[in-house]
Protein backbone atom coordinates (compact mmCIF):
# COMPACT_ATOMS: atom_id res chain seq x y z
CA UNK A 1 0.00 0.00 0.00
CA UNK A 2 1.56 3.35 -0.99
CA UNK A 3 1.45 6.43 1.21
CA UNK A 4 -1.35 7.98 -0.84
CA UNK A 5 -3.60 4.95 -0.33
CA UNK A 6 -2.67 4.84 3.34
CA UNK A 7 -3.59 8.47 3.96
CA UNK A 8 -6.83 7.98 2.02
CA UNK A 9 -7.70 4.99 4.21
CA UNK A 10 -6.78 6.97 7.29
CA UNK A 11 -9.00 9.85 6.20
CA UNK A 12 -11.90 7.48 5.47
CA UNK A 13 -11.39 5.81 8.81
CA UNK A 14 -11.68 9.10 10.69
CA UNK A 15 -14.71 10.19 8.69
CA UNK A 16 -16.39 6.92 9.65
CA UNK A 17 -15.45 7.36 13.30
CA UNK A 18 -16.79 10.93 13.34
CA UNK A 19 -19.96 9.84 11.56
CA UNK A 20 -20.54 7.09 14.10
CA UNK A 21 -19.67 9.45 16.97
CA UNK A 22 -22.42 11.83 15.80
CA UNK A 23 -24.82 8.89 15.77
CA UNK A 24 -23.72 7.99 19.28
CA UNK A 25 -24.25 11.59 20.51
CA UNK A 26 -27.76 11.65 19.07
CA UNK A 27 -28.55 8.27 20.65
CA UNK A 28 -27.14 9.24 24.05
CA UNK A 29 -28.28 12.86 24.31
CA UNK A 30 -31.62 12.24 22.59
CA UNK A 31 -32.65 8.95 24.19
CA UNK A 32 -30.50 7.55 27.00
CA UNK A 33 -29.90 10.77 28.93
CA UNK A 34 -33.54 11.95 28.92
CA UNK A 35 -34.67 8.51 30.14
CA UNK A 36 -32.05 8.49 32.88
CA UNK A 37 -33.03 12.05 33.83
CA UNK A 38 -36.64 10.93 34.34
CA UNK A 39 -35.57 7.84 36.32
CA UNK A 40 -33.31 9.92 38.58
CA UNK A 41 -35.91 12.66 39.13
CA UNK A 42 -38.98 10.43 39.55
CA UNK A 43 -37.60 7.27 41.12
CA UNK A 44 -34.06 7.39 42.48
CA UNK A 45 -34.01 10.74 44.30
CA UNK A 46 -37.45 10.34 45.93
CA UNK A 47 -36.63 6.75 46.94
CA UNK A 48 -33.34 7.74 48.56
CA UNK A 49 -34.93 10.75 50.26
CA UNK A 50 -37.78 8.56 51.57
CA UNK A 51 -35.32 6.36 53.46
CA UNK A 52 -34.29 9.40 55.52
CA UNK A 53 -36.25 10.72 58.50
CA UNK A 54 -38.03 14.07 57.96
CA UNK A 55 -35.71 15.94 60.30
CA UNK A 56 -32.63 14.54 58.57
CA UNK A 57 -29.68 16.79 57.86
CA UNK A 58 -29.13 15.02 54.53
CA UNK A 59 -30.78 16.15 51.33
CA UNK A 60 -30.88 14.56 47.84
CA UNK A 61 -30.79 16.96 44.90
CA UNK A 62 -31.15 16.38 41.17
CA UNK A 63 -29.71 18.04 38.09
CA UNK A 64 -30.45 16.26 34.80
CA UNK A 65 -29.12 12.70 35.12
CA UNK A 66 -26.90 13.60 38.09
CA UNK A 67 -28.06 13.36 41.66
CA UNK A 68 -26.12 14.52 44.62
CA UNK A 69 -26.33 13.96 48.33
CA UNK A 70 -25.38 16.78 50.63
CA UNK A 71 -25.37 17.58 54.28
CA UNK A 72 -27.03 20.89 55.23
CA UNK A 73 -24.54 21.32 58.06
CA UNK A 74 -21.54 20.22 55.94
CA UNK A 75 -20.90 17.00 57.84
CA UNK A 76 -19.44 15.54 54.65
CA UNK A 77 -18.47 16.67 51.15
CA UNK A 78 -21.22 16.65 48.54
CA UNK A 79 -21.49 13.32 46.75
CA UNK A 80 -22.20 13.34 43.04
CA UNK A 81 -23.61 10.16 41.56
CA UNK A 82 -24.91 8.89 38.24
CA UNK A 83 -26.95 5.82 37.45
CA UNK A 84 -25.04 2.77 36.21
CA UNK A 85 -24.91 2.61 32.39
CA UNK A 86 -24.48 6.37 32.25
CA UNK A 87 -22.76 8.41 29.53
CA UNK A 88 -19.30 7.17 30.46
CA UNK A 89 -20.41 3.59 29.90
CA UNK A 90 -22.01 4.42 26.57
CA UNK A 91 -19.05 6.40 25.26
CA UNK A 92 -16.57 3.71 26.30
CA UNK A 93 -18.79 0.95 24.92
CA UNK A 94 -19.23 2.77 21.63
CA UNK A 95 -15.45 2.90 21.11
CA UNK A 96 -14.69 -0.55 22.51
CA UNK A 97 -17.52 -2.21 20.58
CA UNK A 98 -16.46 -0.56 17.32
CA UNK A 99 -12.98 -1.97 17.62
CA UNK A 100 -14.15 -5.38 18.82
CA UNK A 101 -12.28 -5.41 22.12
CA UNK A 102 -14.70 -7.90 23.62
CA UNK A 103 -12.78 -8.74 26.80
CA UNK A 104 -12.63 -5.13 27.84
CA UNK A 105 -16.26 -4.58 26.85
CA UNK A 106 -17.26 -7.47 29.11
CA UNK A 107 -15.34 -5.89 31.98
CA UNK A 108 -17.00 -2.49 31.50
CA UNK A 109 -20.44 -4.08 31.19
CA UNK A 110 -20.07 -6.28 34.28
CA UNK A 111 -18.69 -3.38 36.33
CA UNK A 112 -21.80 -1.38 35.47
CA UNK A 113 -23.97 -4.24 36.71
CA UNK A 114 -21.93 -4.34 39.92
CA UNK A 115 -22.60 -0.59 40.37
CA UNK A 116 -26.25 -1.51 41.07
CA UNK A 117 -24.94 -3.13 44.26
CA UNK A 118 -22.05 -0.77 45.08
CA UNK A 119 -24.06 2.47 45.00
CA UNK A 120 -26.81 1.37 47.45
CA UNK A 121 -24.14 -0.04 49.79
CA UNK A 122 -22.23 3.26 49.74
CA UNK A 123 -25.41 5.25 50.37
CA UNK A 124 -26.47 2.94 53.22
CA UNK A 125 -23.06 3.31 54.86
CA UNK A 126 -23.30 7.10 54.56
CA UNK A 127 -26.83 7.17 55.96
CA UNK A 128 -25.57 5.18 58.94
CA UNK A 129 -23.52 8.27 59.81
CA UNK A 130 -20.20 6.86 58.63
CA UNK A 131 -19.32 10.16 56.98
CA UNK A 132 -15.69 9.41 56.15
CA UNK A 133 -17.01 7.24 53.34
CA UNK A 134 -18.11 10.39 51.42
CA UNK A 135 -14.73 11.26 49.83
CA UNK A 136 -14.23 7.57 49.03
CA UNK A 137 -17.56 7.48 47.19
CA UNK A 138 -16.51 10.54 45.15
CA UNK A 139 -13.10 8.98 44.45
CA UNK A 140 -14.78 5.77 43.27
CA UNK A 141 -17.04 7.77 40.93
CA UNK A 142 -14.06 9.61 39.48
CA UNK A 143 -11.98 6.44 39.07
CA UNK A 144 -14.49 4.24 37.31
CA UNK A 145 -15.72 6.98 34.95
CA UNK A 146 -12.20 8.07 34.02
CA UNK A 147 -11.06 4.48 33.50
CA UNK A 148 -14.01 3.68 31.25
CA UNK A 149 -13.26 6.53 28.86
CA UNK A 150 -9.53 5.84 29.08
CA UNK A 151 -10.21 2.29 27.92
CA UNK A 152 -12.33 3.68 25.09
CA UNK A 153 -9.46 5.88 23.92
CA UNK A 154 -6.97 3.01 24.13
CA UNK A 155 -9.37 0.83 22.13
CA UNK A 156 -9.59 3.59 19.50
CA UNK A 157 -5.81 3.90 19.26
CA UNK A 158 -5.25 0.17 19.07
CA UNK A 159 -8.13 -0.26 16.66
CA UNK A 160 -6.39 2.08 14.28
CA UNK A 161 -3.15 0.13 14.63
CA UNK A 162 -4.95 -3.05 13.58
CA UNK A 163 -5.16 -3.02 9.75
CA UNK A 164 -8.05 -5.50 9.74
CA UNK A 165 -10.16 -3.08 11.70
CA UNK A 166 -9.34 -0.29 9.27
CA UNK A 167 -10.46 -2.53 6.44
CA UNK A 168 -13.74 -3.15 8.23
CA UNK A 169 -14.28 0.49 9.10
CA UNK A 170 -13.90 1.81 5.57
CA UNK A 171 -16.14 -0.69 3.82
Amino acid sequence: MDSNQRSKRHFNFWITVLYKLCGFCLFYLGLVRPIQTIIVREVIAPTIQSTLPDESDIVVLVSQDDYWIESRSDKFVNIFLNLPFNGYFWLASFLIWNFKKWKIFKFVFIYNLVLFIIHPIFIMILFNKIYWIAPIINAHEMVYKALFISMGIIALKEGIKDPNDIELMIR
Binding site: N138, M142, A146, L147, S150, M151, I153, L156, E158, K161
Partner: protein, 184 residues
Protein backbone atom coordinates in the same frame (compact mmCIF):
# COMPACT_ATOMS: atom_id res chain seq x y z
CA UNK B 1 21.32 -4.54 47.30
CA UNK B 2 18.14 -2.59 47.93
CA UNK B 3 18.37 -1.07 44.46
CA UNK B 4 18.87 -4.51 42.92
CA UNK B 5 15.83 -5.85 44.79
CA UNK B 6 13.63 -2.91 43.77
CA UNK B 7 14.70 -3.27 40.14
CA UNK B 8 14.00 -7.02 40.11
CA UNK B 9 10.71 -6.57 41.91
CA UNK B 10 9.67 -4.00 39.30
CA UNK B 11 10.61 -6.40 36.49
CA UNK B 12 8.67 -9.24 38.15
CA UNK B 13 5.59 -7.07 38.64
CA UNK B 14 5.74 -5.86 35.03
CA UNK B 15 6.03 -9.47 33.83
CA UNK B 16 3.10 -10.77 35.86
CA UNK B 17 0.65 -7.95 35.16
CA UNK B 18 -0.63 -7.20 31.67
CA UNK B 19 0.18 -3.72 30.30
CA UNK B 20 -3.51 -2.81 30.37
CA UNK B 21 -3.94 -3.92 33.99
CA UNK B 22 -0.83 -1.97 34.94
CA UNK B 23 -2.22 1.13 33.21
CA UNK B 24 -5.59 0.71 34.94
CA UNK B 25 -3.98 0.31 38.36
CA UNK B 26 -1.77 3.37 37.84
CA UNK B 27 -4.57 5.51 36.43
CA UNK B 28 -7.01 4.34 39.12
CA UNK B 29 -4.53 5.23 41.88
CA UNK B 30 -3.85 8.66 40.35
CA UNK B 31 -7.55 9.46 39.93
CA UNK B 32 -8.40 8.25 43.44
CA UNK B 33 -5.56 10.32 44.89
CA UNK B 34 -6.60 13.39 42.90
CA UNK B 35 -10.26 13.18 43.98
CA UNK B 36 -9.35 12.59 47.63
CA UNK B 37 -6.84 15.44 47.49
CA UNK B 38 -9.49 17.67 45.94
CA UNK B 39 -12.22 16.78 48.48
CA UNK B 40 -10.02 16.76 51.55
CA UNK B 41 -7.46 19.50 50.82
CA UNK B 42 -8.19 21.74 47.83
CA UNK B 43 -11.95 22.13 48.33
CA UNK B 44 -11.82 23.05 52.05
CA UNK B 45 -8.83 25.33 51.40
CA UNK B 46 -10.63 26.97 48.47
CA UNK B 47 -7.71 29.09 47.25
CA UNK B 48 -7.05 27.21 44.00
CA UNK B 49 -10.77 27.06 43.22
CA UNK B 50 -11.13 30.77 43.96
CA UNK B 51 -8.05 31.61 41.86
CA UNK B 52 -9.37 29.62 38.88
CA UNK B 53 -12.86 31.10 39.19
CA UNK B 54 -11.65 34.71 39.49
CA UNK B 55 -9.01 34.36 36.77
CA UNK B 56 -11.54 32.70 34.48
CA UNK B 57 -14.11 35.43 35.06
CA UNK B 58 -11.58 38.26 34.60
CA UNK B 59 -10.07 36.80 31.43
CA UNK B 60 -13.49 36.01 29.96
CA UNK B 61 -14.52 39.60 30.74
CA UNK B 62 -11.35 40.86 29.04
CA UNK B 63 -12.00 38.68 26.00
CA UNK B 64 -15.58 39.93 25.63
CA UNK B 65 -14.42 43.56 26.03
CA UNK B 66 -11.86 42.94 23.31
CA UNK B 67 -14.63 41.63 21.07
CA UNK B 68 -16.62 44.79 21.65
CA UNK B 69 -19.07 43.67 24.34
CA UNK B 70 -19.93 46.03 27.15
CA UNK B 71 -19.30 43.86 30.22
CA UNK B 72 -19.04 44.28 33.94
CA UNK B 73 -16.91 42.02 36.14
CA UNK B 74 -17.61 41.97 39.84
CA UNK B 75 -15.96 39.23 41.89
CA UNK B 76 -17.21 35.94 40.52
CA UNK B 77 -19.97 37.55 38.47
CA UNK B 78 -19.67 38.45 34.80
CA UNK B 79 -22.46 40.55 33.31
CA UNK B 80 -23.16 41.77 29.82
CA UNK B 81 -24.37 45.27 30.75
CA UNK B 82 -28.15 45.49 30.73
CA UNK B 83 -28.65 41.75 31.22
CA UNK B 84 -28.46 39.30 34.11
CA UNK B 85 -24.98 38.02 34.96
CA UNK B 86 -23.43 34.61 35.42
CA UNK B 87 -21.57 33.44 38.50
CA UNK B 88 -18.73 30.93 38.51
CA UNK B 89 -18.85 28.84 41.67
CA UNK B 90 -16.20 26.49 43.00
CA UNK B 91 -16.71 23.15 41.30
CA UNK B 92 -17.73 24.84 38.04
CA UNK B 93 -14.32 26.23 37.15
CA UNK B 94 -12.94 23.18 35.36
CA UNK B 95 -10.51 22.17 38.10
CA UNK B 96 -11.88 18.64 38.30
CA UNK B 97 -11.52 18.29 34.56
CA UNK B 98 -7.87 19.30 34.71
CA UNK B 99 -7.40 16.35 37.07
CA UNK B 100 -9.28 14.05 34.71
CA UNK B 101 -7.04 15.11 31.85
CA UNK B 102 -3.79 14.87 33.80
CA UNK B 103 -4.48 11.41 35.23
CA UNK B 104 -4.45 9.72 31.84
CA UNK B 105 -1.33 11.54 30.67
CA UNK B 106 0.50 10.52 33.84
CA UNK B 107 -0.62 6.90 33.76
CA UNK B 108 -0.19 6.09 30.07
CA UNK B 109 3.35 4.90 29.32
CA UNK B 110 5.66 7.32 27.55
CA UNK B 111 8.72 9.50 27.73
CA UNK B 112 8.69 11.86 30.73
CA UNK B 113 9.97 14.92 28.89
CA UNK B 114 7.29 14.59 26.20
CA UNK B 115 4.74 13.83 28.90
CA UNK B 116 5.44 17.03 30.84
CA UNK B 117 5.27 19.15 27.68
CA UNK B 118 2.03 17.44 26.64
CA UNK B 119 0.55 17.74 30.12
CA UNK B 120 1.23 21.47 30.41
CA UNK B 121 0.03 22.15 26.86
CA UNK B 122 -3.22 20.27 27.49
CA UNK B 123 -3.83 21.95 30.83
CA UNK B 124 -3.26 25.35 29.24
CA UNK B 125 -5.63 24.58 26.37
CA UNK B 126 -8.29 23.42 28.85
CA UNK B 127 -7.80 26.55 30.91
CA UNK B 128 -8.38 28.73 27.84
CA UNK B 129 -11.31 26.54 26.78
CA UNK B 130 -12.85 27.29 30.17
CA UNK B 131 -12.39 31.03 29.57
CA UNK B 132 -14.16 30.66 26.21
CA UNK B 133 -16.89 28.68 27.96
CA UNK B 134 -17.41 31.41 30.57
CA UNK B 135 -17.52 34.07 27.85
CA UNK B 136 -19.99 31.94 25.90
CA UNK B 137 -22.18 31.60 29.02
CA UNK B 138 -22.26 35.36 29.55
CA UNK B 139 -23.23 36.08 25.94
CA UNK B 140 -25.70 33.20 25.82
CA UNK B 141 -27.36 34.26 29.05
CA UNK B 142 -27.69 37.82 27.75
CA UNK B 143 -29.38 36.69 24.55
CA UNK B 144 -31.20 33.46 25.31
CA UNK B 145 -31.68 33.32 29.10
CA UNK B 146 -34.64 30.94 28.72
CA UNK B 147 -32.28 28.25 27.40
CA UNK B 148 -29.64 28.77 30.08
CA UNK B 149 -30.07 25.30 31.61
CA UNK B 150 -29.56 23.61 28.25
CA UNK B 151 -26.41 25.62 27.54
CA UNK B 152 -25.03 24.93 31.02
CA UNK B 153 -25.79 21.21 30.93
CA UNK B 154 -24.34 20.58 27.50
CA UNK B 155 -21.40 23.00 27.52
CA UNK B 156 -18.92 20.35 28.72
CA UNK B 157 -19.70 18.22 25.68
CA UNK B 158 -18.66 21.11 23.43
CA UNK B 159 -15.86 22.86 25.32
CA UNK B 160 -14.19 20.16 27.41
CA UNK B 161 -14.71 16.55 26.40
CA UNK B 162 -13.65 16.89 22.75
CA UNK B 163 -10.41 18.53 23.91
CA UNK B 164 -9.71 15.99 26.65
CA UNK B 165 -10.44 13.00 24.42
CA UNK B 166 -8.45 14.41 21.47
CA UNK B 167 -5.46 15.16 23.68
CA UNK B 168 -5.64 11.72 25.26
CA UNK B 169 -5.71 10.14 21.84
CA UNK B 170 -2.84 12.33 20.64
CA UNK B 171 -0.84 11.35 23.69
CA UNK B 172 -1.30 7.64 22.93
CA UNK B 173 0.09 8.36 19.45
CA UNK B 174 2.86 10.82 20.45
CA UNK B 175 4.04 8.73 23.40
CA UNK B 176 5.00 6.20 20.74
CA UNK B 177 3.95 3.26 22.87
CA UNK B 178 4.49 0.18 20.74
CA UNK B 179 2.91 -2.36 23.14
CA UNK B 180 -0.63 -3.40 22.56
CA UNK B 181 -2.52 -2.86 25.79
CA UNK B 182 -5.74 -4.57 24.84
CA UNK B 183 -6.12 -7.90 23.11
CA UNK B 184 -9.30 -8.66 21.20
Amino acid sequence: MAQWLTKNLKIEINKSISPLALFLIKAGAIYAFWQLFYDLVLLPDGRLDTFLSLTGINMAGGLLSLLGWDVDVSGRVLTCVGHSGIEIQNGCNGLNLLGLYGGFIFAYPGDWKKRLIFLSTGLLVLFFANILRIAFFAVFNANLPQYWDVAHDYSSYIFFYPIVLSFWYLWTVISDQKDTLISG
